[in-house]
């Protein structure tokens, strides 16, 4: 479950950027094509934050839908799964959005 290392990376980054701050919430931006499962992030978060300055903080997640441009027909489309299948039948697509995995903001007490 790579979500645990993702969450640990979040904690490490926040602790480094805001040393000593008591963090009450963390907001992540998570793209639909990022390869990260939101439920798994939420599941890990409480356990992973225990004993850190993020203990007791909540995790807020802003999902970003996937957006692609088909290299065959040029159309923009929103894939309904991680398989980037354009309505024209081609799966040769460029990802324009949805791969985000970003610590957007934190709230401190």
């Amino acid at each position: 479950m790579h979500e645990l290392s993702i969450v640990e990376g979040v904690i490490e980054t926040v602790c480094e950027r805001l040393p000593g701050a008591r963090v009450t919430s963390v907001r992540l931006t998570v793209g639909a094509l990022s390869g990260v499962v939101t439920d798994a992030l939420l599941f890990c978060f409480d356990l992973a934050t225990e004993g850190t300055s993020l203990a007791g903080a909540t995790l807020e997640i802003t999902p970003v839908p996937g957006e692609c441009r088909c290299r065959s027909c040029g159309a923009r489309f929103t894939p309904d799964s991680p398989i980037l299948l354009c309505p024209c039948g081609s799966a040769d697509a460029e990802v324009l959005a949805g791969q985000e995995l970003v610590i957007a903001s934190v709230k401190v007490a």
Binding site: H2, E12, T58, E60, S105, V106
Partner: protein, 254 residues
């Protein structure tokens, strides 16, 4: 709620569904640090994988400066990564100056198998970790000190999910799919197959005994990763190995 970043005064778990990101990257001078109520919201806009990605860039530069090709070998456990590597090391190890980084949660069993072929090998044990990352691979590369112009194969932890997210600085990504696993793996694990430069279909000597639709598998790989090459092979009989060896030779010169 802050109109700029959408942060709330009520600490609670919130899943915002659909629509636009209420907290788009916003450029403004004040660092977006402000107080309202009891807390302050601080915008970070920092990629979660930034540290790994930066180390991967450093690994790539290190490899490039030595003209070393590193390939990241990924598959589910038991797809035949180590067996293929043993055979490759025996057949081609001298020609390519092959060395290996082995990734497993525990034990040095695979490193012992590779070492028995006469190939230089470093074992990484990830413990609870389910994938290799750029930091450990960077350390392993410096320990291995591969000669200029050689090939390093990084055998990732057997896992079709997690390794897909972590750039190691490799020059190419190779995904193995064994015929015993079933032909549906590319559509079940699209993140992994989407990033593959090469897909090796392994254990083809077992095709007569298993229900593996070769054409369907090839079509699905093409669907998910249109640019990926596909080579069927058997490390047991040697069928298809020439194509794999040619791919390595060509890629090393690229």
């Amino acid at each position: 709620m802050c109109a700029t970043c959408g942060c709330s005064d009520q600490p609670r778990l919130r899943l915002i569904t659909g629509g636009a990101d209420p907290d788009p990257p916003h450029e403004h001078e004040h660092g977006h640090e402000h107080s309202h109520g009891s807390g302050r919201t601080i915008a970070l806009q920092e990629k979660v994988l930034a540290r790994n990605d930066a180390l991967a860039v450093a690994n790539r530069a290190w490899l490039h400066s030595r003209e070393v090709l590193a390939v990241n070998l990924m598959s589910s456990p038991g797809a035949g990564k180590t067996t293929l590597l043993e055979r490759t090391a025996r057949d081609l190890g001298g020609e390519l100056g092959l060395s290996v980084i082995e990734g497993d949660q525990e034990t040095a069993l695979d490193a012992s198998r590779i070492s028995a072929t006469g190939c230089r090998v470093v074992q990484i044990n990830t413990g609870v970790g389910c994938h290799l990352d750029a930091a450990t691979v960077g350390d392993a590369l410096r320990t291995l000190a591969p000669p200029a112009g050689s090939v390093v194969v990084i055998e990732n932890v057997g896992n079709l999910v997690c390794p897909a997210l972590f750039d190691l600085g490799e020059g190419a990504r190779i995904v193995l799919a064994s015929v015993t696993e079933g032909a549906d793996k590319p559509v079940k694990y699209p993140h992994m197959f989407r990033q593959a430069d090469l897909v090796l279909v392994t254990k083809t000597d077992l095709l007569p005994y298993v229900d593996f639709d070769v054409a369907r598998h090839a079509a699905d790989v093409k669907l998910i990763s249109p640019a990926a090459q596909l080579i069927p092979l058997s490390a047991t009989t040697g069928d298809g190995l020439d194509a794999w060896y040619d791919w390595l030779r060509l890629r090393r010169l690229a």
